[in-house]
Amino acid sequence: MAASFANTQVSGKVANRQVAQGRVAPFRATGVRKTAGTQIPSFYFAGVSVHQRVIAVSGARSVSRAVQTVFAVKDGAVLEGRKLRVAVIGGGPSGACAAETLAKGGVETFLIERKLDNCKPCGGAIPLCMVEEFDLPLEIIDRKVTKMKMISPSNREVDVGKTLSETEWIGMCRREVFDDYLRKRAEKLGASVLNGLFMRSEQQGTDGPFTIHYTSFADGSKMGTPATLEVDMIIGADGANSRIAKEIDAGEYDYAIAFQERIRIPEDKMKYYENLAEMYVGDDVSPDFYGWVFPKYDHVAVGTGTVVNKTAIKQYQQATRDRSKVKTEGGKIIRVEAHPIPEHPRPRRCKGRVALVGDAAGYVTKCSGEGIYFAAKSGRMCAEAIVEGSANGTKMAGEDAIRVYLDKWDRKYWATYKVLDILQKVFYRSNPAREAFVELCEDSYVQKMTFDSYLYKTVVPGNPLDDVKLLVRTVSSLIRSNALRSANSKSVNVSFGSKANEERVATA
C-alpha cells in the first residue's frame, strides 16, 4: 500500500497523447469533464494546494516520472470534474446489488467478477420478502417451496408449512440465473461489469485512490491479461474466501464446510419433491448442522455441512444419502460441489475506504445457514450509505460512511441473528435436543413464528401468553428427550462457544 510516489506504475488504456495535452484523464474516460485550456484543477491537501495530474502509460512499460503528485482527497471534500469511483469486487448477489444501488445513486461503479457463468454451490433458497424488496421477476424462481419436512434422528417427520398462506412460499432458484439477472440489471443502470480476477490493490497514501491490479478475461483467453483500475473506494463482495478481506487484514472466521451432490431422480420421485424440501437432523448426518434435500429445477440437491468435524464430511454426506435413500432411489449424480459457509462476521468489516459485504463480511445466519438475502441486503445498504455519504457521488466518502452502514446493519438485523444463534445453541447440541426440536416444530404457533421471521425477516413478538406456553413446552420437551436418552448412548454433545473445534464435541 505504501507505493512510492516517484515510481507509480500505471498501465492502461489511456494513451500518452492525453497526458501530453494536459487534460485530466481518469482511468476510464466516462464522465470526464473537459477542462478549458490548460487549467489544471487543484485540491487542498493539508492546507496546501496540490496539483492534480494523472500520469498514464500505455502498454506494460514502466516509466518513472520525476514529478508525481499525490492524488489525495480527504473525506467529505468535493470532487471536481468527476464522480466518486467505487470498485465492487465480486459479482454475486451482494456485489451486484451494491453495484446497482451505487450506479442508481450517481456513483461511477465498476463490478469485477471472475466467472460470469459461475454455477455457485448453494441451497438457492430466497425468502419471500426478497422478491418484493429487490423487484425480482418470478421467472428466475424455479420452484416455490411451500412444505418443509423436518426429520428427527428417530425418523419422526414433521410437516412444517401448515400455516403458510397461498401467497407465501420459499423461492428456489439457480444461482447462475439469479446472479446473472442481478448483474445485468446493475449494468443496465450504469455500472461497468468487468470480467476479471482481482489480484491485489495498492493505496496511494491513506487518502489516495486505490490501484486495483486484476487479470482481465475480456479477450476471452483462459490466462487473461493483467490490467489495472483506479478507484476511490472498494467494496469487497468476493465471498467466503475473500481476497479483499485478506488485503485489509479483516481477520479469520469460523466456517462450515457445505457439501452437496446434485442428483437427477426419476419423475415419480421428483413429484414428491415438487414443492417440498427436507431437513434431516441427527448426529449421523451432521454434529452441528443439518442434512438437506432441496428441489432444484429438474433435480434434487442432497447435502450436509459441518463446522466441528470437517474431515468427516464425506461420512456425513453418505449418512444423508442413506437417510433419504428410499426417496431418491434410482438417481444419478450429476454434480458434486462443496463450499465454505461463514459462521460469524469477521472481526473487522471495514478499513479506511474498503468495506466488506455479504459472505466476505460473514453475514450468514446460524441454525439455517441462510446467506443470499443478507448478502444482497448488505450490499445494498453499504451502497446506500456510500451514496448518502458522498452526496450522490459528488463528494469523497470514507470510513465514516461505511461505519454508518455497519451500524445500521447491526441494529437492524442483530435480533434475527441472535435468535437463530440461540436456536442453534439449544437445539443442535445433541440428539435429544434435535428430537425435542422436531417435536416442538409440530406445533402451529412455532411454525407460524418461524415462517414469519424467515419470510419477512422481522422478529415479530407474538402473543406473550403463547410465548410463555411455548417456553414451558420447550423446556418439557427438552427434559423428556434428554430423559429418553439411553445411559450408554454413543451420541455426541456439541457446544458452541469459543473453544477449538476438537474440544467442542464430547460423547454423552
Partner: protein, 248 residues
C-alpha cells in the same frame, strides 16, 4: 401247613391271572386299585398341584420372551427392537406408534415404565444404525402421550431423593458446625441474615452442582452465551457507533 396255605394263595393269585375259561370252579380274585373318587372331580396332575397358579394370577411369572418362544417351539412370532430390511420392526410398534394395549400389566393399566423403556431402546437402536426415512412408515409416536406423573416417578423422584438426602446431610453438618462455633441453636441460626443466606447458598449449590463436571458446564454456558455477541461487536473495538455518538 403254612406252606400249603401260601401255595394255595399263590395258586389262587395265579389263577386270577388266567382267563376264566380255563378255570374249574375257581374263585376268581381280581386285583383292583381302590381309590376314593367322586364322579365330578378329577384328580389334578402333578403339574397342577402344589401351589400352581393359573390364568391371570400367574401372569408375568413366565420366563423371558426368547425362552418362552424356544420352549413352545414358535419361531420368530415375537420380534423385538429389530431393524429388518431398513425398517424398524417390533411387535408392539404398530402404525408408527407404540400400541399401548400391549403394555398393559395384570391389572389392565398401561405400564408406562415399559413404554419409556421401549422408546429409549428404539432411539438408541436408530442412533446406532440409522435407517432411511420412508414415507410409508411414518413415526407417529409423541412422547407427550406418556403422562407427566410417569416421567416424574421414573426420572425425577430418584434424583430428588438423592438431592434431598444431600441437603439434609449438609444441613445437619453445617448446623452442628455453626452451633459449635457460635453457640446458636438451629432456630437462632435461621433468624440471622447470614444464616438465611448460608441456607440458600447451600440448597442452591446442591441443586445446581450435581456432578463435578457441572461447574465446567456452567462456565462453558456463560462463554457460549456471550461469544456470538463478542464476535459481532469486534468490528467496533475502540470505535464508537455513529448512533451512540449521536445520542451523546
Amino acid at each position: 401247613m403254612q406252606s400249603a396255605l401260601l401255595n394255595r394263595t399263590r395258586g389262587a393269585a395265579f389263577k386270577a391271572t388266567r382267563p376264566n375259561a380255563c378255570s374249574r370252579s375257581v374263585v376268581v380274585v381280581r386285583a383292583t386299585a381302590e381309590t376314593v373318587v367322586e364322579k365330578k372331580e378329577r384328580r389334578l396332575s402333578p403339574l397342577e398341584r402344589g401351589g400352581t397358579l393359573s390364568g391371570d394370577q400367574a401372569a408375568g411369572k413366565d420366563a423371558g420372551e426368547k425362552a418362552r418362544a424356544m420352549a413352545t417351539g414358535s419361531t420368530g412370532a415375537a420380534t423385538f427392537l429389530q431393524i429388518v430390511d431398513g425398517r424398524f420392526v417390533d411387535d408392539r410398534w404398530i402404525g408408527g406408534r407404540w400400541d399401548l394395549n400391549q403394555f398393559k400389566d395384570s391389572k389392565g393399566e398401561v405400564d408406562w415404565d415399559k413404554v419409556i423403556d421401549a422408546e429409549v431402546a428404539r432411539r438408541k437402536l436408530l442412533e446406532e444404525s440409522p435407517i432411511p426415512s420412508i414415507n410409508e412408515d411414518p413415526v407417529n409416536f409423541d412422547t407427550s402421550e406418556i403422562p407427566w406423573w410417569a416421567w416424574v416417578r421414573r426420572f425425577h423422584l430418584p434424583e430428588a431423593e438423592k438431592l434431598n438426602g444431600r441437603a439434609a446431610m449438609m444441613g445437619y453438618v453445617l448446623a452442628l458446625f455453626v452451633d459449635s462455633l457460635t453457640g446458636a441453636g438451629l432456630l437462632e441460626q435461621q433468624e440471622s441474615f447470614l444464616g438465611k443466606l448460608a441456607l440458600h447458598i447451600c440448597v442452591f449449590a446442591i441443586l445446581l452442582v450435581r456432578t463435578s463436571s457441572d461447574l465446567d458446564k456452567y462456565k462453558g454456558l456463560i462463554d457460549e452465551a456471550t461469544f456470538y455477541d463478542k464476535q459481532w461487536n469486534a468490528t467496533w473495538d475502540g470505535v464508537k457507533r455513529p448512533s451512540e455518538a449521536e445520542s451523546q
